[in-house]
Amino acid sequence: MNQMLFRFAEEAPEFSTGGAMQEWAWLILVVPFVAVAGIVFFGKRMKYQGAELAVGMMAFVFVYGLILWIQTMTDHVVYQNSIVIARVSDTLVFEWGWVVDGLSSMMYFLVGTVGLLVFIYAVGYMRGDVRYTWFFASFSLFAGAMLVLVAAPNLAQLIVGWELVGVASYLLISHYWEEKENSSAGMKAFFTNKVADVGLIIGAIALSGAVGSFRIDDILDAATHGDGSMNAPLFGSTVAIAGALLLFFGAMGKSAQFPLHIWLPDAMAGPTPVSALMHAATMVTAGIYLMARMFPLYQTMAQDARPWMIGIGAATLALTGLLALVQDDIKKVLAYSTVSQLGYMMTAVAAGGYTAGLFHLFTHGFFKALLFLGAGSVIHSVHSNNMSDMGGLRKSMPVTFWTFVIGSGALAGIFPLSGFFSKDEILATFSHEGYALVLSIGIAGAFVTAFYMTRTVALTFFGTYKGEGHPHESERLMTVPLIVLAVLAAVAGFVNWPGVFTGFTEWVGTVAFAPLGDYHPESLDLALAATGMGAALLGIAAGWLLYGKDKDTQQARDRFWIPGLYHAFEAKYWLDDVALGLVGVVKGPLARFVDWTNTNLIDAVVNAVGISTRWLGQLVYGAFDQGGIDHAIDAAAAGTGAAGGALQKLQTGRIQQYAGAFVVGAVVLVVGFVIFTN
């Protein structure tokens, strides 16, 4: 029992093996489940109905995760420990264990930080809910399941955590199950994930069976030492590629890659804190985490799997970002945005950007949680998810507004907010690895991202209020997490500023098998950074021109919105003034020319870009997402239902008919036995 195992790649012998904090890190896996049990059995009798247990648990995870991450930073700890549960054969052993290295510490920290803030927020947001206690029980289970997944040193435990995440997400998405839509959304999420999980499980069996061990270390060891290794004769490149692609298929489900992303927008049926946690730290990051954990496999034996992954990641990036343009539901905009950002991460990891993908996961965790909690704060106050019921909220909800703007800026990739650094690192990876098409898609994606976030901010916080009642700022319990997340979303990018400070690269590189061939830029590629940022700014300008025209709040908007650039792009008013002045002074053809240029050319171009982008989004949403994929899923479900109906007729309820069938079966067996044995 309790054997210690430290394995290091030859390239990185300088890691330390950790101390008591690492040995006791199993507490991170156990405490959440103790909290779940405590909430389920005693929650209703507690003063805060179990919420204090959940928040306390997350606070523990946060503190422990922070300590572990700091130790990773300072001592470069790689620690792994496993307890044997059952032996299948001499080498194939079911184990339960925990890994404390750079990658998992980063995830502990991310889950702990975002989780703690979201849990505190949920105490305010869910107040008065019918199943308040039950919500916190499932919510704690959700976080605990993710920690089990992240800590897994072997694929078997990873699958256990993976499935627990699925179960918890089902419980949480269909939290308001009184309405059919919500419970259907939960089932859709569960089933879509289940389809992908089949891939994960078969892939895990294939890899583990061929290598003869469930341990991720052993699989990576065999992969990095190539074909025909002595201890894994079955492990060839065919098995490696098939297994790698099947694992990727599993990741496609959890990380919502096209075309398995369909569950994620529907998952918005759950309470907003669930969406925030799901999109930031726990569920959708699982697939990216798995790809990062198995990174050396994809860089060595399963290299041929990478083009597929890049293709699917880039398709996700391009297609789902456009969908966000036509949504009215503020949470759906953010959901499609998440899918698109996951496309960035997946493509980056597949293209060889281990650090880039994880860095984007890290920063995205903060700003997407912030955006969701901000959206939740708005929804809480307006009592509607639709942006057509919002507008003009910046005055009544200043904290939500400013934090939301910071989050949008980070998502759009505006310097010096965190999204800029992570997106730039991804683009630099595409550029360095020579994926020109993917690079251009990435830059176009930056444009689209900025465009729809501007639209969201404009429709929600600017113009006139179109809903009912009087919106008001949310309580402190909800605004304080927003402020903390806004600070994190603003500064998280500084941990990996190429050429200035690249600690993050070093930290996530502190793993037993060094991420071979991972690209990290030495310094900021200014041309590329300017291109990415330019695309984002162009997107903001275009979005503003199309959606920001609400005269009565013009002045306030002028004061706020990046004045120089705003004026330059808001060419209509600026050129109008010049043209009118010229007309007043010279009344010449120049004035008419300027006026004509203004009304016919510039507006036409801006409108054409906007309308065609919108049209493309609508087309993709209608034809692909709603028409193609959803119908295929519906048809599969209807087929299953029909088969069930047909088989139902056999179920007569008459016990003697069953007995008759039994006797006939027995007679057939006996007769068959007699015939075939003689």
Binding site: Q651, T652, A659, G660
Partner: protein, 101 residues
């Protein structure tokens, strides 16, 4: 002693049991038919045990097990039939097709 007549007797008992199980409509009679089949099996067990002269007497021990299980089964079965009869005033199996899909 020849084995054949005893096996014929057991087979006949077993067939009667199957007939009762399938053809009777009264739940008590069906239970009785099941008992008949179990006892046919018991006869076979004891007969084969005697024929091969098993020093461990496996067949007899097994037959005792079967009798014990049969007693338990008939106890539970009769209790169920009794409860159904009290609630529905019928012991006819055709009236109980409530599990029909």
């Amino acid at each position: 002693m020849t084995l054949a007549p005893i096996l014929v007797l057991a087979a006949a008992l077993f067939s009667m049991g199957i007939y009762g199980l399938l053809a009777r409509r009264n739940a008590v009679m069906v239970l009785l038919a099941v008992e008949l089949m179990l006892n046919a099996v018991n006869i076979n067990l004891v007969a084969f045990e005697a024929a091969i002269r098993d020093s461990l007497a496996t067949g007899q021990i097994f037959a005792i097990f079967v009798i014990t299980v049969a007693a338990a089964e008939v106890g539970i079965g009769l209790a169920i039939v009794l409860m159904i009869f009290r609630n529905r005033h019928s012991a006819n199996l055709d009236d109980f097709a409530t599990m029909s899909g």
